[in-house]
C-alpha cells in the first residue's frame, strides 16, 4: 500500500501513537477501507476535494470574522479532509469513562454549593475551593432543576504513546465546537460519497434533538410549550456560527442580552407582540458577563437581574452558573478522588499526572524537571499563557518562573504528553499531525448521553502540540465505527 504517491512521505513520528500505522508500519485495520478508497483517487482529486470543502464552508457561512483595521475578513476554521477513526471498542471505554466522570463532577458541584461534605471529609482542601476565581458564593444553596449543573460537557481526551486515553481537561462552562462536529460530517458526506455507510460510521445528527429534549425537561414552569432561548453574545463572537446553527437545528429563539429583560424576578423577551416569558436559557455568555448587577458591572452582553430570577427558580440556565469551580485546572487533580469518594468506583479514564505549584514540594520538583513539563494557568484557555518546557529557552523559563512565584496557586504543571498523530492531507501528500478529541456529553433528567463522535482538533504545524483553533489548529471529521 505504501507505493501510493501521497503516502510516500508518510513517516510516523517516534514515541507517538499513530492513529493510522501500527508499530510494524502496517495500516491499522480501521483505516484500511479509507486508504483503499483514497488509492482510487489521484493526489489531484484529493486536492480538488480539499478545495470543495473550503468552498462549502465559505458559501454556507461557516466562518468567523477577524477584524483588521476596521475591515472584516472572513476566515474558515481549517478542516482536514481525512477523517479520524475511533473503533467501537475504544468508544466504549470513552463513553463509560466520561459518563462516570460527569456523574461525579455533577455531584461535586451540588456538594460544593451546599453541604461541602467533600471538604469536611478532607478529600479536597478548603483553600483549593475558595482560591478558585470561578467559585461563586452567589450560587450557595441555589436549587437547580433536577440537580443538574453540567448539561453540556466537552471533555478533552488525548492518547499517550501507548494509545491509552487520558483526560486533558474538563470543559463544563460553555464548551464550543459541536457545530463543527455536525458540519464536518455534512462536508465529509459530500467529499467521500458512499464511504460512510461502507465503513459503518455511526451518525451524529441526533445531537440537537437530545439537547432540545433536555432543555424542555428542565423548564421550571410545568407547561406544554416552554419558551427556550439560546443567549449569544452576538454576531461579533467567534462562535456565532455555532449559536445560529444550534438555534436553527433546535428551532429555539436566538437572543442577545438586549432582547431580554427581567421584571419581578421573571425573564422576558421583547417581541413584536409585547413581552413573552422565557423558561430556559441555553447561554453562551460566560458567568462574569451574565448579570451586570451581580458580576461584571460593565457587561452589556448580559441581562440585569437575571441572577435574581435564577435564584428564585423562575428560569433555568444551562450550563448552571458557577461550574468553573469544577473544571478549574487545579481542581482537575482531585477528579479521580471525587469519583472514588462519591461513586465508590475506580476511575475508568486516567488523569494526566498533575502537579500543584501551590504546593512547595511539588513546585520544587517541577522547577527542577522543567524540561519535561508543561505549565499552565489554572483558569487559562485557548492554549495561551502556557510554558512548554521542552522547547522554551532559558529566558522564557526564568520570566515564567518569576510569574509563577507571584501566585503559585494559579498554576499547575503536567509532564509533556506527546498526543497521538493522525494523517493529514496537504501539499498533495499525507503527513502525521497531532490530534486530540472532544466528545460532547449531554446530561438530562434521564441520564447522560454522548453522541458517537466529537470534535477532533489538529495541530496543523509540524511537531506542534497545541491544537487550539486560536493557535493555528484545525479540525477533522470524527468517525466512531459501529463494529
Amino acid at each position: 500500500m505504501l507505493e501510493l504517491d501521497f503516502l510516500q512521505q508518510y513517516r510516523p513520528e517516534p514515541n507517538t501513537w499513530d492513529e493510522m500505522f501500527n508499530s510494524d508500519n502496517d495500516i491499522r485495520q480501521p483505516y484500511q477501507k479509507i486508504i483503499n478508497y483514497l488509492s482510487q483517487e489521484s493526489a489531484e482529486d484529493l486536492n480538488k476535494k480539499e478545495e470543495l470543502a473550503r468552498k462549502l464552508f465559505m458559501s454556507q457561512g461557516i466562518t468567523f470574522t477577524v477584524y483588521n483595521s476596521g475591515e472584516g475578513i472572513e476566515k474558515i476554521f481549517p478542516f482536514d479532509i481525512i477523517p479520524r477513526i475511533i473503533t467501537a471498542h475504544d468508544w466504549e471505554i470513552i463513553e463509560k469513562g466520561i459518563k462516570q466522570r460527569l456523574k461525579a463532577l455533577n455531584i461535586f458541584l451540588k456538594d460544593v454549593y451546599s453541604n461541602m461534605f467533600i471538604i469536611k471529609d478532607g478529600i479536597i482542601p478548603l483553600e483549593m475551593i475558595y482560591s478558585c476565581p470561578h467559585f461563586l458564593r452567589e450560587m450557595h444553596n441555589v436549587k437547580v432543576p433536577h440537580d443538574i449543573y453540567v448539561h453540556i460537557a466537552g471533555i478533552d481526551l488525548i492518547r499517550d504513546f501507548d494509545g491509552s486515553f487520558y483526560v486533558l481537561e474538563d470543559n463544563l462552562r460553555t464548551p464550543s465546537g459541536v457545530s463543527y462536529m455536525l458540519e464536518n460530517r455534512e462536508i465529509t458526506k459530500r467529499l467521500f460519497p458512499d464511504l460512510l455507510p461502507q465503513c459503518k460510521v455511526r451518525s451524529v445528527t441526533e445531537y440537537p434533538e437530545i439537547l432540545y429534549r433536555n432543555l424542555m425537561a428542565i423548564s421550571p414552569r410545568q407547561i406544554s410549550n416552554p419558551t427556550i432561548v439560546l443567549l449569544s453574545p452576538g454576531i461579533y463572537n467567534s462562535a456565532y456560527f455555532e449559536h445560529t446553527t444550534l438555534a436553527r437545528l433546535m428551532g429555539v429563539e436566538l437572543v442577545e442580552g438586549r432582547d431580554l429583560l427581567v421584571d419581578n424576578q421573571r425573564v422576558y423577551m421583547k417581541t413584536t407582540n409585547g413581552r413573552q416569558q422565557v423558561d430556559v436559557i441555553y447561554r453562551r455568555v460566560d458567568d462574569e458577563y451574565l448579570d451586570p448587577l451581580v458580576f461584571n458591572p460593565d457587561s452589556i452582553l448580559g441581562v440585569a437581574g437575571i441572577m435574581g430570577a435564577y435564584r428564585k427558580g423562575n428560569v433555568a440556565i444551562v450550563n448552571a452558573i458557577g461550574n468553573g469551580v469544577a473544571d478549574d485546572k487545579a481542581i482537575y487533580t482531585y477528579v479521580p478522588d471525587m469519583i472514588k469518594y462519591y461513586l465508590n468506583e475506580e476511575p475508568l479514564l486516567k488523569n494526566v499526572p498533575t502537579y500543584q505549584l501551590g504546593n512547595p514540594d511539588q513546585k520544587e520538583y517541577v522547577f527542577s524537571n522543567i524540561g519535561q513539563m508543561v505549565i499552565k494557568k489554572t483558569n487559562g484557555s485557548g492554549g495561551y499563557g502556557m510554558l512548554m518546557g521542552h522547547i522554551a529557552n532559558d529566558d522564557e523559563i526564568q520570566t515564567y518562573k518569576s510569574e509563577v512565584d507571584k501566585d503559585p496557586r494559579q498554576y499547575i504543571a503536567q509532564p509533556t504528553i506527546s498526543l497521538s498523530a493522525a494523517p493529514c492531507f496537504f501539499n498533495k501528500k499525507l503527513y502525521p499531525r497531532r490530534i486530540d478529541l472532544r466528545p460532547f456529553a449531554l446530561c438530562g433528567p434521564d441520564g447522560i448521553e454522548i453522541v458517537p463522535g466529537g470534535l477532533t482538533r489538529v495541530a496543523l504545524k509540524e511537531g506542534s502540540l497545541i491544537v487550539n483553533s486560536s493557535q493555528g489548529g484545525g479540525s477533522k471529521d470524527t468517525w466512531v465505527l459501529a463494529s
Binding site: 458559501s59 452576538g234 454576531i235 436553527r248 429555539v252 429563539e253 436566538l254 442577545e256
Partner: protein, 311 residues
C-alpha cells in the same frame, strides 16, 4: 417574534431592495452614457443614492468609471454596494434561524461576490455591464429564493414592509431628482432619449409603451410611476403593499400601536390614490413628493418605536 429579529429582517430587506435599485440605475445610465453625444453627467444618479458634496460630485460626474467605482465600493459612500451588502449580510447573520438556509447561502454568496477584488478590476478596465449583470443576477436569485422558500408569516411581512417602503422612497427620489434637476435645462424634459433612459432605469419602459401611444411625455411618466397600480415600482403600488403586509401583523394585543400605524399608512394611501396629475402639478411636484417622503419616513419611524423596540 423578537423585536430585534423583526428589525433585522426589515433592514435586510431594505438594503437588498436598495442594492437592486442602485444596480439597475447604474446599468442603464452606463448604457445611456455610451449613447450620449454630449458629455454624460452622472450627477443626478450620485445625488439619488449618496450624500456626496456638490464640489466632489463635480469632480467625478463626467467620469463613468470613477462614478461606478464610487457607487460600487466607495468606502466613504454609505450606500455603496459593498457597504449595503455587508450590512444586509450582518442583518441576515443575526437572524439566520429565521430565514431559510438557501436564502442565507444566497446572501452570503452575494456578499462574497461583492467582496471579490476581481470586480473592481473589471469595473475599471473591462465591460462594466457584465459586472452589473452578475450582481443583478444575485439579487434576482435572492428574490426567487425568498418567494419560494420563505415562510408566510410575520417575518415575511416585516421583510415586505421594508422592501416596499424602500422601493416607494426610491421611486419618489428618482422622480424628484430627475425632474427637478432638469429645471436648469427645460429642453431635457422633452428630450426623448432622456425620458426613455429614465423609464428604462426603473424598468417601466415596456409598460409605458403599452399604456401610452403618443411617444415620451413627462406627464405620462409621472402618472405611470406615481399612480399606476399595475406598475410594480410605482409609489401607489408600493404603498398599497406596505398596507397589505402591515394589516397581516394585526393581533389582539397591540391594538393602540397598530391603530396608530394603520392610520398613518391609510392616510398616505388615500393621499396618493386621490391625486391626479392635475392636482400634483397644481401643488408642485417637488412639494408633493416631499410630502410623500415625509410620510414614508414617519412610518419607518413608528415601526422603529412600536415594533422594533428602539425608542
Amino acid at each position: 417574534m423578537l423585536s430585534r429579529v423583526a428589525s433585522n429582517l426589515y433592514w435586510l430587506s431594505r438594503y437588498i431592495e436598495r442594492s437592486d435599485g442602485i444596480l439597475r440605475m447604474l446599468k442603464i445610465n452606463y448604457a445611456s452614457s455610451q449613447d450620449a453625444l454630449q458629455e454624460f453627467s452622472w450627477a443626478p444618479v450620485i445625488k439619488i443614492y449618496s450624500r456626496l458634496e456638490e464640489s466632489k460630485i463635480r469632480e467625478i460626474e463626467f467620469n463613468s468609471r470613477k462614478v461606478l467605482l464610487y457607487m460600487f465600493s466607495g468606502s466613504d459612500n454609505l450606500n455603496s454596494i459593498v457597504n449595503i451588502i455587508t450590512l444586509a449580510r450582518e442583518n441576515a447573520r443575526s437572524v439566520q434561524d429565521h430565514i431559510p438556509k438557501d436564502l442565507w447561502q444566497c446572501l452570503n454568496e452575494y456578499y462574497h461576490l461583492v467582496k471579490d477584488k476581481r470586480l473592481i478590476q473589471l469595473l475599471q478596465k473591462d465591460d462594466p455591464t457584465s459586472v452589473l449583470d452578475e450582481l443583478i443576477k444575485q439579487v434576482m436569485l435572492y428574490y426567487g429564493i425568498s418567494e419560494v422558500t420563505m415562510e408566510r408569516g410575520e417575518g415575511r411581512s416585516f421583510m415586505n414592509i421594508g422592501k416596499y417602503l424602500e422601493r416607494s422612497i426610491q421611486s419618489a427620489d428618482i422622480l424628484d431628482i430627475k425632474f427637478s434637476t432638469s429645471g436648469d435645462d427645460p429642453d431635457l424634459l422633452t428630450s426623448a432619449s432622456y425620458l426613455k433612459y429614465l423609464l428604462l432605469s426603473i424598468g417601466a419602459y415596456d409598460l409605458y409603451l403599452k399604456t401610452y401611444r403618443q411617444g415620451f411625455d413627462a406627464e405620462n411618466i409621472l402618472e405611470l410611476v406615481i399612480l399606476n397600480n399595475d406598475f410594480p415600482r410605482s409609489v401607489l403600488y408600493s404603498v398599497n403593499n406596505i398596507n397589505r403586509y402591515f394589516e397581516r401583523l394585526k393581533t389582539n394585543k397591540d391594538i393602540i400601536e397598530f391603530k396608530e400605524l394603520s392610520f398613518q399608512i391609510g392616510r398616505l394611501t388615500s393621499m396618493i390614490r386621490y391625486s391626479t396629475i392635475g392636482s400634483i402639478e397644481q401643488q408642485g411636484l417637488h412639494i408633493y413628493l416631499g410630502l410623500i417622503k415625509k410620510e414614508l419616513y414617519s412610518i419607518g419611524n413608528s415601526l422603529n418605536v412600536h415594533y422594533f423596540a428602539n425608542s
